[in-house]
Symmetry: C2
DNA sequence: GTTGGTGCAAATGATTTGCAAAAGG
DNA sequence: CCTTTTGCAAATCATTTGCACCAAC
């Protein structure tokens, strides 16, 4: 990885490029959707069995600060992480069957600007978890 | 409390009216906003010192099922409960200073129907926690 | 009497932290 | 070298659970 933009960002922020860190980055990056900390750990360990869970959490903190990954609480004590790509999107989580579908950003576009213009609050309309009941479960 | 509508609801659902339960109900009811489980426990204990935390959690589960209280995760491991009143409302939580302001329901009104009509998913647009940065902290 | 509810103590489970050793720059 | 990062083990902390006893109804 000669000039991986993620590696550059980490370096610029004064972080070191350790193998553990790069494995965690690549686990997040290659996943199509969310991963829990445990998922990430399992994936990383497939390559390198001695990585510790605390390292995953510490690295996720760094990546969140750099806005490279998002963190979402999807209920049931599940916190979930996702590599941030071009288009933000949101999640519809069925409380009955647990299924998760994605929702395009456009539904939330107006909301953010309306809130800011009338309250001054600047919301992170980035990665919402919306609970409810899916089509099949109704 | 001769015919407290809450007591009636509990009975109809096949629950018993214990003093602990009624104290928990009234703690939630009298609070102007959210309470954590610990807040509720503290308030209840001011009247009756031997109530256990597990009773609070068990009762909150019952009240949630009856849709008498809402449960919101406001981050940092804080889960917060609130008596459901007439008008639903939402919360703007500042990630910097931790302040919480309320947001009227109208901002979310369209969102729910738009999501349902295009995806079939029926969201609980009831009690949202919106993170971001408040006016002062920007 | 039954059934559900309670307190207590112990278990859980995700996340965090202290510390000494190891490694990146 | 100097500082950050790591692994390990132990600590947190909110929430849950098993169980014997009590209390509503």
């Amino acid at each position: 990885m000669p000039d991986d933009p993620t590696a550059v960002l980490l370096k610029e922020a004064g972080h070191k490029l350790t193998p553990q860190r790069m494995l965690i980055v690549s686990a997040c990056r290659k996943a199509p959707g969310h991963l829990s900390a445990a998922d990430i750990l399992a994936e990383v360990r497939r390559q390198f069995a001695y990585v510790d869970g605390s390292t995953v959490y510490r690295t996720l903190t760094v990546l969140k600060d750099l806005r490279l990954v998002s963190e979402t609480d999807i209920g049931e004590g599940e916190t979930v992480y996702e590599w941030i790509r071009e288009e933000p999107h949101h999640h519809l989580i069925c409380k009955r069957c647990g299924s998760i579908e994605q929702l395009e950003h456009r539904y939330f576009e107006d909301l953010g600007s309306q809130i800011t213009s009338s309250t001054g609050f600047r919301p992170d309309i980035d990665h919402f978890a919306v609970f409810g009941t899916c089509n099949e479960c109704q």
